[in-house]
Amino acid sequence: MNRQIRLVGLGMIVLFVALFLQLNYLQVVHAKALESNPLNGRAVVREYTAKRGDIVSADGVTLATSVPTPDQFKYLRQYPAGPLFEQITGFWSFTYGADGVERTYDKVLTGGSSPFHLPTSLSGLQQLFSNHDKSQSLTLTVLDKLQTLAQKELAGRIGSVVALNPKTGAILAMYSNPTFDPNQLSSHNLQQVQAAYKALQAVPGGVLSPGAYRQRWFPGSTFKIVTSSAVFDHQPSLVTKTYPVLSALILPQTTNLLHNFAGERCGGQLMQLFTVSCNSGFGQIGLDLGAGSLYAEAHSFGFGQTPPVDLPFAAQSTFPTADAFTHDLPGLAYSAIGQQDVQATPLEMALVASAIADGGTIMTPHVLDKVTNAQNQVVSTYQPKPWLQATSTATAAQVTQLMLSVVNSPNGTGAAARIPGIQVAAKTGTAQTGTNKIDAWFAAFAPAQDPQIAVAVLIPDQPSQNEYQGGTLAAPIAKALIQAYLSTAKATP
């Protein structure tokens, strides 16, 4: 019997060696292939379940936070501010990935980018054996106060408000309608998330693409800031050229006319043309400048370039290349007043205003202020850096004078933005988008002698009536933001 018993032992060893070999196959040889198998949700879930830090506004309001859950995802991402900050924070969804700050700073929020340190203390050793809290929180430059004000001022109308600090590029507010509640995409109920996403895709106006930096409109007369800069930079003689008083400009190569808004008659030198936003005059300036100069100026202001904002998929603003106008001089005249093929995001127009405000420099726009670790220590702070040298300091000073005249002159189009005691520099825009439809624009900065805030406001698709000009519709919103921001800045020096 002993022989059989020994053979049984041998058989057992054979069976266990087989198990050991199979384990080697699974854990060493075949492990990579199994890990990358499309059915293997572990990597995705591991990434998704990593603890994320909070996202907090500059004035201390929590915009995104993670709440522990008992399910396999471990944490539920919540957005206490709801739709108000969606276009900045974005969303964090198991099914649909991430957008906004959640996407740009994904690795920072989970601490995945923090370097590994050998443990030097008992608590460090403890961290080595545990999934210790590596998450980091983000403080944004965006102010809840201004964001709320922008939402309130838009009063439900489709449109965008962008405010930034021209000296640093820090975005102070960036709000667009339509928006949505990101909580419906971060939910762990996958059916509900899918249904919500379908519904969002169906919203007209593209609610999943933030209007402020991912959608483009004709900038209309706000583009005259760029055209005027081109005059100072490329052909200063045009500054003192007197343009005839017309109600419409007869365009070359065609019988078409470029009409002034509501058939008004205007003309004169650059200062007068800018103050009343004279289309016939600026159309002629465009033709006098030539396509090359206007294109070069637009490009240096950021048209045709993707703004390096720390948010995903920012749209380029467009200006046609110079040779596109060789056989289309009417197009050049229209482009000089921000029509035809010129398109800009609200963010770009805020950057145009900030270029003039900051002596010709466009600082890199950004929403991140600082990164804090789980122990509440500041890990890093955003260092402002210039993006473009749009124009010279001298030109910026000259254009500032033009923009001040828009607000301060009795016949200026931006009188609605006047603030007692504060010099506001601005340009209105009323872009024609079709028969009797206009987009109302306002681009401004203040105070003119020491600019603290640059603002762009857009309210598109308004009926073409006088009260819907940029000066009447969009200017008061910019004024409200400037006032609110400057009063805060004064209160907290």
Binding site: M1, Q4, F20, L23, Q27, E35, V45, R46
Partner: protein, 446 residues
């Protein structure tokens, strides 16, 4: 010790039991360390109850050790610490998966150790078991068929192998396999000569005498009944393998192995044709990727977990076990392989191999055939059961719902395994005591 020596006939007591105590302390330290690491890994800090935890597991295993000291002082010193370590590792991983199940498992462990002590108390000599062979036969078959009784039987996951009394669930098959092992050992030893000569000459051919074929056919029939009526592939295979293995060891006739394999194949084909539950298990085994959401799901998730472990593992408490179905019972080995890696999983397998090897060594050292065969059978149960579940989880063989001895969550399994352990220790004690050249030894030591 001195007192026991005076009682006479007892050799090597201090050394063996001291070895055992040392190994127990090592096992408790390993378990405590693992518990601390799992707590760190899961919650980021040491478990608050680490102190009471260590005291309780030490108290439980020390109670078992003390019982062995008193009741089977000459028994092998490796089996109890190894079982304790496996039980401890199992508990840590159950606690890491579910606090509720961990509390229950702690109670079951205490009851299991109670049964361990009770078995040592009740069975004073291994050979006494032989006398009750038919009682064990009826007990075993009765327990096996108990889940089929309407009213107390219960279907869980397509298999009918549970009984419930009130809120109390029990898997009687776990105990039945012990009773049947005792019965097989005694009947086979008695009929070994007949069984091994059961050939008859017909013309020029030697054929098996149908009379001696009868028992194997009965066993086969019974395992098929378990198969068909309770849908329990794992227990059925374990039961049949135990029977054939013991028969072969008892008789030394290889044709029993061939016959067993043949009958198992026939039974498998039959089952495959008739039972959907079995069919889906097999298709999930042959091509899990084609059934990734149905019968292959458990297997694939187990594979992913094992693969994620790599060589060194993700660390105790640090994996996301929520992916794994039946994580605390059938697939607990996948969780362990995930978090402890190849190294930890191989160590666990080595622990089982150590138990099986020690059990077989006890069998070799036994003097009487009954004890020899019983020790072999008990060792086979641990070895085959481990192979069936680990092989199932790693896809060497089809995955069946069977527990990993001492590790998986489950009261009946734990109790059965502790009784099995007590029987092995009893047999081990008997063999080390039986030669009893007591007078000479006493004379020498005196």
């Amino acid at each position: 010790m001195r007192r026991k020596l005076a009682a006479g006939g007892v050799r090597r007591v201090p050394a063996r039991r001291r070895t055992e105590l040392g190994l127990i302390i090592l096992a408790v330290m390993l378990t405590g360390g693992l518990y601390a690491l799992a707590g760190l890994g899961k919650a980021g800090n040491l478990p608050a109850n680490i102190g009471p935890f260590l005291i309780i597991i030490f108290a439980l295993i020390f109670a078992a050790h003390f019982a062995v000291r008193r009741l089977a002082p000459n028994a092998d010193p490796i089996l109890l610490p190894t079982a304790g370590l496996l039980n401890g590792i199992g508990y840590v991983f159950i606690a890491r998966l579910s606090n509720h199940e961990a509390r229950l498992q702690a109670v079951w462990t205490a009851i299991g150790i109670g049964c361990f002590i009770g078995t040592l108390l009740l069975v004073r000599r291994g050979r006494d078991l032989e006398r009750y062979r038919y009682s064990f036969a009826f007990l075993g078959i009765g327990l096996l068929l108990l889940p089929l009784v309407p009213g107390i039987g219960e279907n869980i996951n397509g298999a009918r192998l549970w009984i419930h009394l009130g809120s109390f669930n029990f898997q009687p098959g776990e105990i039945a396999k012990l009773a049947l092992a005792i019965f097989f050992a005694s009947i086979m030893v008695e009929r070994a000569d007949l069984l091994s000569q059961g050939t008859r000459r017909i013309g020029r051919f030697l054929v098996l005498d149908p009379r001696y074929l009868a028992p194997i056919l009965v066993a086969w029939g019974l395992s098929l009944v378990i198969f068909f009526a309770e849908n329990d592939l794992g227990s059925s295979f374990l039961f049949f393998a135990l029977f054939i293995g013991m028969l072969w060891v008892a008789t030394g006739r290889h044709y029993y192995l061939g016959l067993g394999a043949g009958l198992f194949a026939v039974g498998s084909v039959l089952a495959l044709k008739v039972i959907g539950h079995t069919r889906s298990r097999i298709s999930g085994w042959l091509d899990p990727w084609a059934h990734s959401n149905t019968s292959g799901y458990q297997l694939i998730q187990g594979w992913f977990a094992i693969a994620a472990g790599g060589i060194f593992g993700e660390g105790p408490g640090q994996s996301n076990a929520a992916h794994i179905p039946e994580a605390s019972t059938d697939l607990i080995f996948a969780v362990i392989a995930d978090e402890l890696g190849l190294i930890g999983a191989a160590a666990l397998l080595f622990g089982y191999l150590l138990m099986v090897g020690t059990g077989l060594r006890v069998a070799v050292r036994c003097e009487r055939p009954f004890e020899k065969l019983l020790a072999t059978g008990l060792s086979l149960i641990i070895g085959v059961q481990t192979f069936v579940i680990v092989g199932g989880v790693t896809r060497l063989i089809p995955l069946t719902g069977i527990t990993l001895p001492f590790v998986s969550y489950g009261g009946s399994s734990l109790i059965a395994n502790y009784i099995l352990l007590a029987l092995l220790l009893r047999l081990s004690h008997d063999t080390e005591t039986l030669p009893a050249p007591a007078p000479i030894m006493e004379a020498v030591s005196a």
